[in-house]
């Protein structure tokens, strides 16, 4: 019996060794990847990790324009589409170098906590309230988004919420708050999915939902939902504006953040050339994003959290 036990221990040790060998094999591979990139000059060969929202990714914008940046610097951009809340959380953990999101309140919190620096306004489009053509709550053509939501709530018409802490979800909650209605009940469904999926669910259930215009346009040919309340691009209420911002992860907080490359990326994407590429990106014949980084006039608000002021800067 003692002999057996000794053999057991030896074998378990062997097994553990085999597994460690496997792990270290992986890590040496990763390390050699790292060293091969750092041996080349400048940023060439490095990888930039960008966490972003499903709306910039799923519309195909990033895949379309990133080739130019990668070619210009000889780098790779790993774009991870997560939704605004998750994208910021990943950056907060130091697992990405730059974030491109669309929820100013969450971005401001991210900056105030010291995780994000050098924020720029990047581009915008708008949100629209879409729903079935039959429009059971009668919101078609309303000029107020909050009135429209209240009408949906009063009619108890089905409404699909993203429910995933994304930029669109954040906007939707802000709208309900502005409308003074606490949504809940059978008619209000949280899906916890991306925008495209939420549109499909709304389509199948004949429900209303809040969508960014880009995702709606890119999917319009496959669904029967129509725009019932327009956003500011089509003269709708300003409250439905959908501005995207970009920020570098603070290398003072996360020293492994690839800050040089993040700033190169921010510099590139806010440059006239890349901004033109954004404005030229079309789907189904429509422009999805409107660049706003290049401007003759100063806009200091884009660099700091909303409402931030210091004594020296107050006029």
């Amino acid at each position: 019996m003692p002999i057996q036990r000794r053999k057991f221990i030896a074998a378990v040790g062997g097994g553990a060794l085999a597994s460690i060998a496997g792990c270290s094999g992986n890590s040496t591979q990763a390390q050699s990847d790292g060293s091969s990139s750092s041996s080349s000059a400048g940023v060439a060969g490095e990888t930039l990790t960008l966490t972003t929202t499903t709306s910039t990714y799923d519309t195909g914008l990033l895949g379309e324009i990133h080739g130019d940046f990668e070619e210009m610097y000889g780098v790779t951009v790993d774009a991870v589409a997560q939704g605004t809340g998750a994208a910021l959380e990943t950056a907060r953990n130091g697992d990405s170098d730059v974030v491109m999101v669309h929820a100013r309140g969450l971005e401001d919190e991210f900056m105030r906590n010291g995780y994000g620096i050098n924020r720029r306004d990047l581009m915008f489009n708008d949100f629209v309230i879409v729903g079935p053509e039959s429009d059971p709550a009668g919101i078609q053509g309303m000029s107020s988004a909050t009135e429209a939501l209240n009408a949906i709530a009063e009619a108890g018409a089905p409404f699909v919420s993203r429910g995933d802490n994304s930029g669109t979800h954040t906007k939707e909650l802000n709208l309900w708050e502005a409308a003074g209605t606490d949504p809940g009940g059978d008619w209000y469904q949280e899906t916890g999915t991306g925008m495209g999926e939420a549109l499909n669910i709304a389509n199948q259930q004949g429900a209303y939902t809040l969508s960014d215009r880009g995702t709606y346009i890119s999917q319009r040919s496959e669904i029967d939902l129509v725009i019932l309340v327009q956003g500011p691009i089509e003269d709708g209420p300003e409250i439905l504006a959908n501005p995207y911002g970009i920020m570098a992860v603070n290398p003072g907080v996360h020293e492994n953040a690839n800050y040089d490359l993040a700033m190169a990326y921010i510099g590139w994407i806010t440059s006239p050339g890349a901004q033109d590429a954004i404005s030229n990106y079309q789907m189904n014949g429509e422009q999805l994003f409107f660049p706003e980084a290049v401007s003759e006039n100063p806009d200091f608000q884009q660099y700091v959290p909303e409402g931030w002021s210091s004594n020296s800067s107050s006029e």
């Binding site: 057996q4 074998a11 085999a18 992986n26 790779t76 953990n93 495209g196 999926e197």
Partner: protein, 240 residues
């Protein structure tokens, strides 16, 4: 609600008219296979010796260890993904290796997922080999190693099933590889950490159910082929 039928009818045209760039589908198949095969291989190398030793010995708490392994078969993959994420995240114990959003991180989570089924089924197969076979090998003058080899040979179908079960779990799993891999494709359309399952998830998120179904068919075909190959190998081994 005409979603489920339409894609099937359109399957063939969709294959011809794949809305992806050249090399995209091939690269996600490659990533799927690479990650799953490496993870299952490592897991088999790890599980087999343990299962053999456990099958050949009796010790206090053996049943307890067994039930832990069996519980592992039910680990939700998303939870495994979260645990691996915490481990490889910049803040985690392996953060300095910068494994997040890499194939290596995906292999780690697949390893954790594939090991319990491989170990449990291998153990069952080895314990299932009749005592007579062991005794015969022993009586014929076999050393303990010889006996073990005979038992492994007898249990090879069970072990193959174990490996297949682990492979099936790894390649069809979507939750953890999405979390630790990030579903990344480079801008030239070649997959970095996108697997068939996460590609299907992405297509479904965009409401492209047709292409999601086609990719699903590709995945099922691959699993079928791998199963056929492993069963074939087992048969050839028996004829020798």
């Amino acid at each position: 609600m005409n979603v489920p039928l339409e894609p099937v009818a359109q399957l063939l045209p969709a294959v011809v008219d794949f809305p992806f760039r050249e090399g995209y589908v091939r690269s996600i198949i490659y990533v799927s296979l690479y990650v799953s095969v490496v993870a299952v291989t490592l897991s088999t190398l790890f599980s087999l010796p343990i299962a053999i030793v456990m099958g050949f010995s009796d010790f206090r708490g053996k049943q307890f260890v067994k039930s832990i392994i069996n519980t592992g078969m039910g680990f939700p993959s998303v939870v495994v993904g979260l645990v691996v994420l915490f481990a490889v995240s910049n803040q985690g114990p392996l953060g300095s290796l910068e494994l997040i959003f890499t194939k290596e991180a995906m292999i780690m989570s697949q390893f954790v997922l594939a090991t319990p089924p491989i170990m449990a089924i291998t153990l069952a197969a080895i314990t299932g080999v009749s005592e007579n076979v062991r005794d015969a090998a022993h009586v014929l003058g076999g050393t303990r190693l010889d006996v073990a080899l005979v038992v492994i040979k007898e249990a090879r179908y069970g072990i193959a099933t174990a490996v297949l079960a682990g492979f099936g779990r790894a390649i069809s799993e979507v939750g953890s590889v999405l979390i630790v891999g990030g579903n990344i494709v480079s801008s030239d359309g070649i997959s970095s950490t996108r697997t068939l399952t996460t590609a299907i998830q992405l297509e479904a998120r965009q409401g492209q159910y047709d292409t999601a179904m086609v990719l699903g068919a590709v995945l099922v075909t691959i699993v079928l082929m791998v199963n056929a190959i492993v069963v074939r190998l087992g048969d050839e081994g028996a004829m020798r």
